[in-house]
């Protein structure tokens, strides 16, 4: 039994790093929420102590039914809607963060709803088009220049 443990340890050391690199490269690169905040020069309305979290996909829509259909968990929703339904919809499909465009800030009650559901809220002065474009470019380029 001891020998097997030893042999297995050897395997892990030599091989596991290579394999994990492969797996990382094959999936879409996740992006840190705080990087998104820098890319969009966004104000943090509600950080829920989650700015170090990772975003798997980014989705943009103002249509609730579409968000319900296509929204993914651990994703960022970019929207111009600041009503409570935006938060409710995000809650339904486990969206982790919402960024409002055109510098919009929702009503305090809406912010409270997000707080209860542990959803991060950001607000950017960019338009929907520009916000999406900036994130897309940043994810596509290998070295993210955040300056």
């Amino acid at each position: 039994m001891k020998n097997i443990d030893k042999a297995l340890c050897g395997f892990y050391l030599t091989e596991i790093s290579l394999i994990s690199q492969e797996i990382m490269a094959s999936s879409e690169r996740p992006i840190l929420l705080k990087d998104i905040q820098k890319i969009l020069s966004a104000d943090i309305i509600l950080d829920n102590e989650w700015m170090d979290g990772k975003i798997q996909t980014v989705y943009c829509s103002d249509l609730m039914s579409d968000i319900l259909s296509f929204g993914d968990s651990s994703s960022l929703l970019i929207t111009s809607l600041i009503n409570p339904q935006a938060i409710r919809t995000a809650e339904m499909v486990d969206i982790a963060a919402i960024c409002f465009v055109h510098g919009k800030i929702p009503h305090q009650e809406t912010i409270e709803m997000a707080r209860n559901n542990e959803i991060v809220l950001l607000s950017t002065r960019y338009s929907m088009y520009e916000a999406c474009g900036r994130i897309y470019c940043a994810r596509m380029s290998k070295s993210i220049d955040l300056s």
């Binding site: 091989e15 394999i19 249509l63 319900l68 296509f70 651990s74 339904q85 339904m92």
Partner: protein, 321 residues
């Protein structure tokens, strides 16, 4: 403690898994008449350190980087690989447990071993350290997946209760025209279903369908009732109102058909996708409506995510990080 358990799991797997479970079968093999001058390019191109020489399904020998270097330093003329290959090939049978393979790697320090079918002595593939790791990871992943499914199939709740028939009924009232509170029922329902330990994919489908139906009650139906019955097989949702009713049910099922007023559209609803979404999430959807009397929507969603509807909205279950 958890770490210890995982190590025991790996140990169990190395005894349980056979070399045939981990071996790579799509491998580079050389024929005896391959020339030595070609070997370097082949090994390099495929990023391998050795390749077996196979003829008529039998392993004749193996040629490694070492053999190639020996040939090079000896300064001999170009020849067929069968003249330079190592003949004393260490191999493993396809029914040997992985633990034997691991011992062989430890003992001989080779990069790879050919796998031989014990029944007919034919060449069956190659095993490398990488294949062993991948084989164990695959087996762990399957085990983990099975564990997740069993954990989320309602077993936690429904299997702990001893009765001939177990049902959980959740009833909610929805206030009409109060769009600010829209989604409260679906939100509460989501938390309840999570407590029952249902599969995240099933919960997702249920809350999406309920949310859409709930919004319909608020927008068109002037309020109503949502009753949810969960049993060991499925979730049955019944959404009922005494509103205006639907004149043409076929029409509301068409994607994009909407009679929503502007105030609803401004909130991001009323694009005529509500019933389409409900349909995508449910196994069975039944709409009963009479103009002037009201509408009843019945939705059934199976608890087994493998068997039930894999529509776009609901098919995705939450990914495990």
């Amino acid at each position: 403690m958890r770490r210890l358990k995982e190590i025991h799991k790996v140990q169990e797997l190395v005894f349980r898994l056979k070399t045939s479970d981990a071996k790579a079968s799509d491998v580079v093999i050389l024929s005896p008449d391959t020339m030595m001058s070609e070997v370097r390019a082949i090994l390099r191109k495929n990023k391998i350190a050795a390749a077996p020489i196979v003829a008529e399904n039998k392993v004749l020998g193996i040629i490694s980087v070492n053999d190639y270097l020996n040939w090079l330093t000896a300064g001999r003329e170009d020849c067929r690989v069968e003249k330079c290959m190592s003949l004393n090939v260490k191999f493993l049978y396809d029914d040997e447990p992985l633990t034997d393979a691991i011992k062989c790697f430890d003992r001989y320090g080779f990069y790879e071993f050919p796998i031989i079918d014990r029944k007919n002595g034919n060449f069956a593939g190659i095993i490398t350290r990488r294949d062993i790791i991948m084989g164990i990871l695959r087996a762990l992943e399957i085990d983990y997946h099975e564990m997740e499914i069993s954990r989320y199939s309602g077993h936690t709740f429904f299997h702990d209760i001893v009765a001939d028939r177990t049902e959980v009924i959740l009833s909610f009232t929805v206030e009409g025209k109060n769009i600010q509170r829209g989604g409260e029922v679906a939100s509460k329902l989501k938390k309840n279903l999570q407590q029952l330990g249902l599969h995240p994919g099933t919960i997702r489908k249920t809350v999406i369908a309920t949310y859409e139906a709930e919004m319909n009650l608020i927008i068109y139906g002037e309020g109503g009732w949502v009753d949810v019955l969960v049993d060991a097989e499925a979730i049955h949702i019944e959404v009922k109102d005494e509103g205006p009713g639907i004149p043409d049910i076929q029409k509301v099922l068409q994607p994009g058909y909407s009679t929503a007023p502007d105030w609803v559209r401004e909130l991001g609803f009323g694009a005529g996708m509500g019933f389409t979404n409900i349909q995508n999430c449910s196994d069975v959807l039944d709409i009963i409506s009479k103009v002037g009397e009201g509408t009843t929507v019945k939705i059934r969603i199976g608890l087994d995510p493998e068997k039930s509807n894999k529509g776009k909205s609901g098919g995705k279950s939450d990914e495990i990080e």
